[in-house]
Amino acid sequence: MDFDFTEDQQSLRDAVQRWVEKGFGFERRHALAKAGGATRAVYTELAELGLSGLAVPEAHGGLGQGPVEAMVVSEELGRGLVNAPYTAAALMAPVLLSAAPSAVQAEWLPRMASGEALVVPALQERAARYRLNQVATRATAQGDTWHLEGGKCVVPAGDEADAWIVPARISGAESDTQGIGLFIVQRSAGQITAYPTQDGARAADLQLKGADASLITQDGFALLQQAVDIGIAAQCAEAVGLMEKLVAITVEYMNTRKQFGSTLASFQALRHRIADVKMQLELGRSMSYFASLKLGDPPVQRRRAVSQARVQLGQSMRYVGQQCIQLHGGIGCTDDYIASHYFKRLTMLELSLGDSLHHLGEVSALMQDTAGVFA
């Protein structure tokens, strides 16, 4: 039982913080968002810090770091409100490639580690919502090559990526867990419609019309679940960073803004609200730790823990976001003020990889007789 960070983890945190302070102020972010939300340049800067290779095995030129390091980086990217497809490209994509033939790994992983290649999972389909087994895109083999027919939507940095990792159905009905293959598809093989997102980044819809694809694995559902759980844990950590900073901004505002001749911080109704906000932040942080520390567990335990964490973080993100806007009053609703951007990022986070209700359903389905952290 130990919740302290090692010195190495602390210096990793410091390194990301220093980069944010020097290179990623609110003005830069705001300008990037207004210009359409391109994130590749920012991702390249993170790569220069070595962060794109964080989860890539050392044998492929990465740092081979674990969930706690990923959590530390994600918290800091959240705190800095950094727009980059970090979770998708640096944390989820490498694990999806772990099942690929060694030639495919050798082709992609070193370039992903260095940041030269940006590869993102393309998971979403029109009717799938958060069900990973709901895959309508189909894959057919012709000799050694595969072709994909279908489409994916809301792919993070989809138009900036060099390739996508695409789940496609090889066999079975549309919602079977069996028969889902994972493929790597070069950007040039698909048709792209790209657009800015609510939280200042960029995403794309892909049309795949017989697109050429390289096979990662023919039976990818379990790996897909694992990658998504890794992504959720990282998002939980990002949310903690976001919330922590948003609360700090709000506290500062409460201590300076005066109405009725007194600071906002002097009114008990508002003091109790910030106490409740602090509660949600600390519960969220506790469950973010829980999610990351359970990633190495056997699949069922990992699944349950990650969904439990996501239910908590979903509640925390929404409460902290909404209340911090409310505590600011009118200024909190403006585009020029930083708080609204934190709120929007927190809100959009919940809508990717499963919202609170979806994961409550998972927790409910996976509940057992015993209860608690060690159940």
């Binding site: 039982m1 302290d4 602090k278 519960l283 520390l293 439990q308 927790v363 007789d369």
Partner: protein
């Protein structure tokens, strides 16, 4: 970072588990498991069993005869006791007054009072609240006037839990009315058999006389029963409350009761109702999050590397969860929670109602547990304290 207990900690847990299994009388754990009424004898029997083993003061350092366990070990001990359905140790002696006597009492007082607390022989009560001093505890008026070698105590305490069994009571008394209200309070130990002490039970909404009013009418208390310095009692009381709050979160009992709620929901046919089951799932998330928060505090305490100022949060969350599981149990029982049969709460009751005692008890417990967000510093007072930390003013 590591979520796992060490091999030594797991071995320690195993040792505790085996001892509790062998030592906890089954008639007592039966009552706890089914939420039946515990008598004074039940509570004291278990306290003395713990006392004989040297574990009634499980949080005590070795120099005062305790086991000298670290934060994690204390937690594991509490967890094993809770999961085995041991009664909650009545905290007033071993958990509340003893740490104050250790920290601020003199050697004579330590020698005189601690052994009786450690063995479970002496029943202690708490004399804090007064009719006009609830959340505003610093306004206490119960007066202690120094007359040579004695204090003359006049006034009233209230909400004294299980005070009907009390042999000694620790009180916050007013010894000065000068300066800020906090400045004139003293911490006094009073023998409840002294002439002039009278106890009157207060029946709570579940029908149980769980708390009492305690009256002091010209009670003479030897001055040697004063803890520390006169007028410094508020500092000592705050020390005590900081011990009370982690204890009050009681996440171990919450885990046990959540498991009971699941069994009840299955037996009553609501487990298969997605609307009901989702409520249990939400509570489960709340319980895991509280447990993680508790574990973070314990780990910080053990390593000393970070300080976590979340005692107020633990009290708020712990008490809300306690209320929620009693509420869901009552809802699981549904109409069968309606009968109010006082004697059915006794073990061995032979009635022929359709409602088993365990289901009837759910409503009583729900009513009783409204106290949890009120006592130990109401949750609103806790929010005041938390906001002070967050806002820095």
């Amino acid at each position: 970072m590591d979520l796992n207990f060490t091999a030594e900690e797991l071995a320690f847990r195993q040792e505790i588990r085996q001892w509790v299994a062998a030592s906890l009388p089954p008639d007592i754990s039966h009552k706890v498991r089914h939420a039946l009424r515990l008598s004074r004898d039940d509570l004291q029997r278990w306290a003395k069993i713990l006392g004989k083993k040297g574990w009634l003061g499980w949080g005590w350092p070795q120099q005062f005869g305790g086991p000298g366990w670290n934060a994690i070990q204390k937690h594991l001990f509490e967890e094993e006791c809770a999961l085995a359905c041991a009664p909650r140790v009545v905290p007033f002696g071993p958990v509340m007054v003893a740490p104050v006597i250790m920290a601020f009492g003199n050697a004579e007082q330590q020698k005189r009072f601690l052994p009786g607390i450690a063995s479970g022989e002496v029943w202690w009560s708490q004399g804090y609240s007064e009719p006009n001093s609830g959340s505003d505890l610093a306004s206490v008026k119960c007066r202690a006037e120094r007359r040579g070698d004695t204090y003359l105590v006049n006034g009233q305490k209230t909400w004294t839990t299980l005070g009907q069994y009390g042999e000694w009571i620790f009180c916050l008394v007013r010894t000065s009315s000068e300066g800020k209200p906090q400045m004139g309070i003293s911490f006094l130990l009073i023998d409840m058999k002294s002439p002039g002490v009278s106890v009157r039970p207060i029946v709570l909404m579940d029908g149980e006389p769980e708390v009492n009013e305690v009256f002091f009418d010209n009670v003479e208390v030897p001055a040697e029963n004063l803890i520390g310095e006169e007028n410094k009692g508020w500092t000592y009381a705050k020390h005590l409350l900081s011990h009370e709050r982690t204890n009050i979160a009681d996440v171990n009992r919450a885990k046990r009761e959540l498991e009971r709620l699941k069994r009840m929901a299955k037996a009553e046919g609501v487990w298969s109702d997605a609307r009901f089951r989702d409520q249990i799932a939400l509570l489960e998330v709340d319980v895991v999050a509280l447990e993680m928060m508790v574990l973070r505090v314990l780990s910080a305490e053990k390593s000393g590397k970070q300080s976590l100022d979340v005692a107020g949060l633990l009290k708020i969350r712990g008490s809300e969860i306690q209320q929620r599981y009693t509420e869901l149990m009552m809802l699981a029982a549904g109409p069968l929670a309606t009968p109010f049969v006082f004697e059915a709460m006794e073990a061995g009751w032979q009635g022929n109602l359709v409602s088993p005692p365990e289901l009837m008890a759910t409503a009583s417990t729900y009513f009783n547990f409204r106290k949890t967000t009120i006592y130990g510093g109401s949750n609103e007072v806790q929010r005041n304290i938390v906001s002070q930390t967050v806002l820095g003013a």
